[in-house]
């Protein structure tokens, strides 16, 4: 007979080790830090208002191109609104969606995963079934349908994504809980007469937290990309809120003549997501969390 448990144990090998290294981690933190600062105090620093239209000043190019205006560092959009002010405001939306989604999906996924991994048996079967079902649901389509049916809005997007993106949390929480469950300190807590909830919250959770932190960064990046995609398709954050995805959608009609209208928010999105992923990669190396997916 083969030994399935041995097969499943993640091997400490070079496969999960640092490849981009600490430099990548530093760059990631710098990027995320910059975006956070922009989101928090950016609109106080940028003199223009992200919502005020100026139809006489439509589609002015950014500062490095000919015909740019001193007052609009990144130019203006199709309604003459300042692009830098909108970009900075959009950072707030992306981060907010990312963080709120991670909290919602984290609570769902970690609860399911820890319960399944700890109790095993029937409980685990149910959890695995839930994960399998969730994975077979086409996320973008269902998210679009929910927003399409219930009307767009920030809160609804967060709730929808949170209810859809918990699978990786559950998978990792389950696998790591299974590893931790048999450690001596858990047995010791049992013997000391600790309650199940005490063991789950005080013994198991802190010991799988590092793995979950890595998952949180991945999910945050995914949530930000998905929100952008939903907003791009017109069923996410409603206008005139400047979500980066919505900015790309609005700029789409002008992209052949003024490509920068989609370049600027697109690059911002890619850089933020890259930054978050670099932080996640760095955390993984720092905390020694094995790759589980």
């Amino acid at each position: 007979m083969s030994e399935p448990i041995a097969i499943q144990a993640p091997q400490p090998s070079s496969t999960g080790s640092s490849r981009i290294g600490t430099a990548g981690f530093a760059i990631g933190i710098a990027i995320v830090g910059l975006v956070v600062v922009a989101a928090v105090i950016g609109n106080a620093l940028v003199p223009q208002d992200p919502f005020i239209q100026d139809l006489g000043n439509r589609l002015k190019p950014p500062f490095w191109m000919e015909g740019s205006q001193a007052g609009h560092l990144l130019g203006t959009d199709q309604l003459g609104r300042d692009y830098l002010a909108r970009l900075v405001y959009g950072a707030r939306i992306s981060l907010l969606i990312g963080i709120m989604t991670v909290i919602t999906s984290g609570v769902i996924g970690i609860t399911l995963g820890v319960l399944g991994g700890f109790f095993g048996g029937r409980v685990d079967d149910v959890v695995l079934f839930a994960i399998t079902t969730r994975l077979s649901i086409p996320v973008v389509l269902v998210a679009l349908a929910v927003v399409g049916l219930m009307g767009s809005g920030l809160g609804l997007v967060v709730a929808t994504l949170g209810l859809l993106l918990w699978d990786r949390f559950a998978v990792v929480a389950r696998a790591t809980t299974m590893q931790v469950r048999n450690h001596d300190y858990v047995s010791a807590a049992w013997c000391a007469g600790a309650s199940t909830s005490h063991i789950l919250i005080k013994e198991i959770l802190p010991n799988i937290a590092s793995h979950l932190a890595v998952v949180a960064t991945l999910e945050m990046a995914l949530a930000i990309l998905l929100e952008a995609a939903l907003s791009f398709l017109g069923l996410g954050v409603p206008p005139p809120l400047p979500s980066w995805g919505l900015m790309i959608a609005e700029g789409k009609d002008y992209m052949f003549f003024s490509p920068w209208v989609i370049m600027i928010p697109g690059v911002a999105l890619a850089v933020l997501v890259l930054g978050i992923n670099l932080v996640g990669d760095g955390l993984r190396n720092l905390l020694g969390a094995e790759r589980l997916r």
């Binding site: 490849r19 095993g120 389509l141 890259l274």
Partner: protein, 334 residues
């Protein structure tokens, strides 16, 4: 405690060190494994079906949505009767699921055609796109992954890693627009949108491939690194086999197992995710149909598209599990 049904390819994959020969009562074990996975697949499909049905009732009163904003109370009542929405919810549910089991998804409200017909017409386009995307992804990511593994911790390896990270960060719809500007407008080599010819599948295929390349490249890389460090490779080296033979005959064969099975699962994800890409390129596949139907409150179509995409995913993961079991006898014990 053996591997359970949920332990599909989404989970950590072990290195494989023994050969691929079938062992002992393998066939019987295999059949049992397939039967169990199939049963679970059916159960998952039924759950998704229920969720898809509930999803379309989220908006509250369907009849009002269908009748439109200018409809009077009397119009709404007529719609309610005509579409059978006056029946109790559970009656509607069983009527729908009962007919959906035999492939009858009802009539589209908007297209004036049966939903089954609509999907049948659009499905080949989505499947073509998915296969083009997957093939491109494999052709790019497997060589890249091997290259990175053989040059582990050199600048080549780091560039490949950086490439996968950037690939993961770039939004697919944005990449689509950039390709439209560069390939469609500036170079003028490919059509910007539409469904007519094979050229229409090139750009969407590239974009779709990009959604799978990061994961597949990393998987190939780590599989190759593990394989190259294993005992049987050391043995092969000691026997004096050529480097090319070691890499392609011995290491790659073992590294390829998780890649093959993940590729099947990736295809399932790609079919589900193609909605964004199909919409950007106005490629009239199932995803685009789903988007149109959501915009037009065409609920029977939305329900059916969700279900069809889910069933494809379930089927492909089942296929992945079977492939895995076939390729790796150690997983055949169920």
């Amino acid at each position: 405690m053996g591997r359970q049904f949920g332990d599909t390819v989404a989970f950590a994959w072990p290195a494989r060190e023994c050969g691929g020969a079938l062992v002992g009562p393998g066939v019987l074990v295999m059949l049992r494994l397939i039967a169990r996975r199939l049963a679970i697949g059916v159960l998952v499909a039924f759950t998704v079906m229920t969720l898809a049905f509930l999803l379309t009732r989220l908006s509250g009163d369907l009849a009002i949505s269908i009748a439109g904003p200018s409809a009077t109370q009397a119009d709404v009542e007529i719609v309610r009767k005509a579409y059978g929405l006056d029946r109790p919810l559970y009656v509607q549910f069983f009527a729908w699921t009962g007919r959906a089991m035999v492939g009858d998804f009802g009539q589209s409200y908007f297209f004036k055609d049966s939903v089954a017909n609509l999907i049948q017409k659009r499905l080949p386009i989505t499947l073509t796109l998915g296969l083009v995307g997957l093939s491109l992804a494999l052709v790019i990511s497997i060589p890249l992954g091997i290259l990175a593994a053989l040059r582990e911790n050199t600048w080549i390896d780091r560039s490949v890693t950086l490439f996968t990270m950037v690939g993961q960060a770039v939004p697919s719809f944005w990449l689509a627009l950039i390709l439209m500007i560069v390939l469609g407008l500036q170079l003028g080599v490919l059509p910007i949108s539409g469904t007519g010819t094979w050229q229409h599948f090139v750009m969407p295929g590239i974009v779709l491939a990009f959604t799978a390349i990061p994961a597949l490249t990393r998987l190939t890389r780590s599989g190759m690194i593990e394989a190259m460090a294993s005992d049987y490779i050391r043995t092969a080296r000691a026997k004096g086999l050529s480097r090319a033979r070691i890499i392609f005959k011995h290491a790659l064969r073992n590294a390829a197992i998780p890649v093959v099975s993940i590729a099947a699962v990736q295809l399932g994800f790609m079919l589900g995710g193609s909605i964004v890409i199909e919409t950007v390129f106005a490629l009239h596949g199932v995803g685009y149909l789903g988007w149109e139907s959501i915009a037009k409150n065409d609920f029977p179509v939305v329900q059916a598209v969700v279900l069809v995409l889910a069933v494809f995913y379930i089927g492909l993961t089942l296929l992945a599990d079977i492939l895995n079991a076939l390729l790796d006898p150690r997983l055949r014990t169920g």
